[in-house]
């Protein structure tokens, strides 16, 4: 599956779509493949504040538990409630299903956010 344009990626296999002061965060195709069938998602609360490096959500597959981390400081303004009903959407549409949207000042991005070329190189190295 090709990676959609306009996303940034992390070494923990999250993706981030930044549009002005809003950042949608999800997990990558690679992450969902590694996890296998996602059966449970624990979402943050609207209004919750996070700092870069915090876990904003927990994704559980049949075999594994994984945290979703943010590389940005921000406040939760939206959560993807469709995932509560159908966690398997994370497997079938990883780039279409964000976990949550943060609001903040994203004018300067940390270098932990990779562009798609850098993320693909990271994957190729076995990241």
């Amino acid at each position: 599956m090709g990676m959609p344009d306009g996303l940034r990626f992390t070494a923990e296999h999250e993706w981030v779509r930044i549009e002005g002061g809003r950042a949608a965060i999800g997990i990558t195709q690679h992450a969902q493949e590694e996890l296998g069938d996602v059966v449970f998602v624990e979402l943050p609360h609207i209004g919750q504040e996070f700092r870069a490096g915090d876990s904003i959500a927990v994704v559980e597959s049949v075999k594994a538990v994984a945290s979703v981390y943010t590389q940005l400081d921000g406040r939760v303004v939206e959560v993807n409630e469709a995932l509560l009903e159908d966690p398997g959407l994370m497997n079938t549409d990883p780039y279409g299903q964000h976990v949550s949207v943060l609001e903040g000042d994203f004018s300067v991005l940390p270098d932990t956010l990779l562009d798609s070329a850098a993320y693909e190189a990271f994957l190729a190295e076995g990241g």
Binding site: G36, D37, V39, F40, E42, V58, E60, S61, V62, K63, V65, L84, N91
Partner: protein
């Protein structure tokens, strides 16, 4: 140490299976998806490579007596051609291993044991071999394929219309042929479904595996990995050694009373098992959202820690989080809390198993288990 490979390893890799190191063996975790494989076994059939399991033969005039001495279940009434599940205990009543004993004759029993325990079991039985029986490790001489699910007989028939099949639960044919391959064919398994376990020579296994996969396609049978094997046995309430059983967990604490022959307490560990048990195994289903996992703390309804989850997970068939835990024997509240990260998730204890397969009723006789 380099992990070991089963005779089917290359086929699994070619099939795109996700391989994992399981107690020193490279085994398929999943082929397609654990949920798909789990459902195939509940609705149709699944094929498992369980060649990592240990196999040991006890042979000689004292074979049955030795088996009855080292195993907690009754081996005296076990008939030739039948298999029986049994814990093997240490002197303190803890569990050395849990095994399936197949009786080929009065002078010949075959034990199938947990892969990680094979060496320990051989040494344990040798140390208690007061019958001077022969105890032979035959683990490398067998590949084992488990075919499990309501349509497993149909799959075997599709592979070989002439094949003789063992019909009763826990019965087996010590030497038969399946698609021309010599094998021991048993009506045993670890999924809560009707099923077979096929023991054949390692060099014949790849061909037999391929034949069964092909023969099963029409019925919707699939190759399955250890992921589904674990979720299936969890739903069936079956203990896993290292989780519900261990050197410091007695089979009575694990609730395996039906498999411990206290009427004839001449076996190793019997004396210790006469003491009152301190803990017991319970099954529980979470009330709401959350997936309990092995090691999570279990609290009573007042919030006091009373034990830990021994196995837990998501049940595909029941679509809920559930698990098993060891709790104090006197505790009988029925309501507990499971600590899942920073939450305390309520759960209710339920009788085991969580899942029981649909019985096939013929006249007034139940279908075999």
């Amino acid at each position: 140490m380099e992990p070991k490979k089963t005779p089917l390893y290359d086929m699994h890799v070619r099939a795109g299976a996700k391989m994992v190191d399981f107690h020193g063996w490279l085994m398929p975790l999943q082929f397609a998806s654990i949920l798909t494989e789990h459902e195939a076994v509940r609705e149709s059939a699944g094929l498992f490579d369980i060649s990592h399991m240990g196999v040991m033969d006890i042979a000689g005039p004292g074979a049955s007596k030795l088996a009855d001495y080292v195993l907690a279940n009754d081996m005296k009434t076990l008939k030739t051609g039948r298999a029986r599940y049994s814990p093997m205990c240490n002197e303190k009543g803890g569990t050395v291993d849990d095994v399936l004993a197949y009786k080929l004759s009065d002078a010949f029993l075959r034990l199938v044991v947990n892969a990680a325990n094979t060496g320990k079991d051989l040494a344990w039985i040798a140390a208690h071999n007061r019958e001077q029986a022969e105890v032979i490790d035959r683990s490398d001489e067998f590949a084992i394929i488990a075919l499990q699910g309501p349509r497993s007989s149909e799959v075997l028939r599709a592979a070989d219309a002439e094949a003789r099949l063992p019909t009763r639960a826990y019965s087996f044919l010590p030497e038969t042929r399946l698609t021309g391959v010599g094998c021991m064919l048993a009506r045993t398994g670890y999924t809560g479904e009707i099923g077979y376990e096929i023991f054949c020579a390692p060099r014949e296994a790849p061909c037999l595996w391929e034949t069964l996969i092909e023969a099963g396609k029409a019925a919707g049978a699939r190759p399955c990995g250890l992921g589904a094997r674990d979720s299936l046995r969890l739903e069936a309430g079956m203990p896993l050694y290292g989780n519900e059983l261990g050197e410091d967990i007695s089979p009575l604490e694990a609730g395996l009373h039906a498999f411990v022959d206290m009427d004839d307490p001449g076996f190793v560990g019997a004396e210790a098992l006469m003491q009152p048990v301190r803990r017991r195994r319970v099954g529980f289903v979470v009330d709401g959202r959350g997936i309990p996992r092995a090691g999570y703390e279990v609290l009573d309804s007042d919030g006091c820690a009373i034990g830990r989850v021994t196995s837990g997970g998501y049940s595909p068939t029941l679509d809920t989080g559930l698990g098993m835990a060891l709790v104090p024997n006197g505790w009988a509240d029925g309501k507990l809390l499971v600590r899942i990260r920073d939450r305390q998730v309520p759960a209710n204890t339920v009788p085991l198993p969580f899942y029981r397969r649909k019985q096939i009723i013929r006249g007034n006789a139940h279908g075999d288990a």
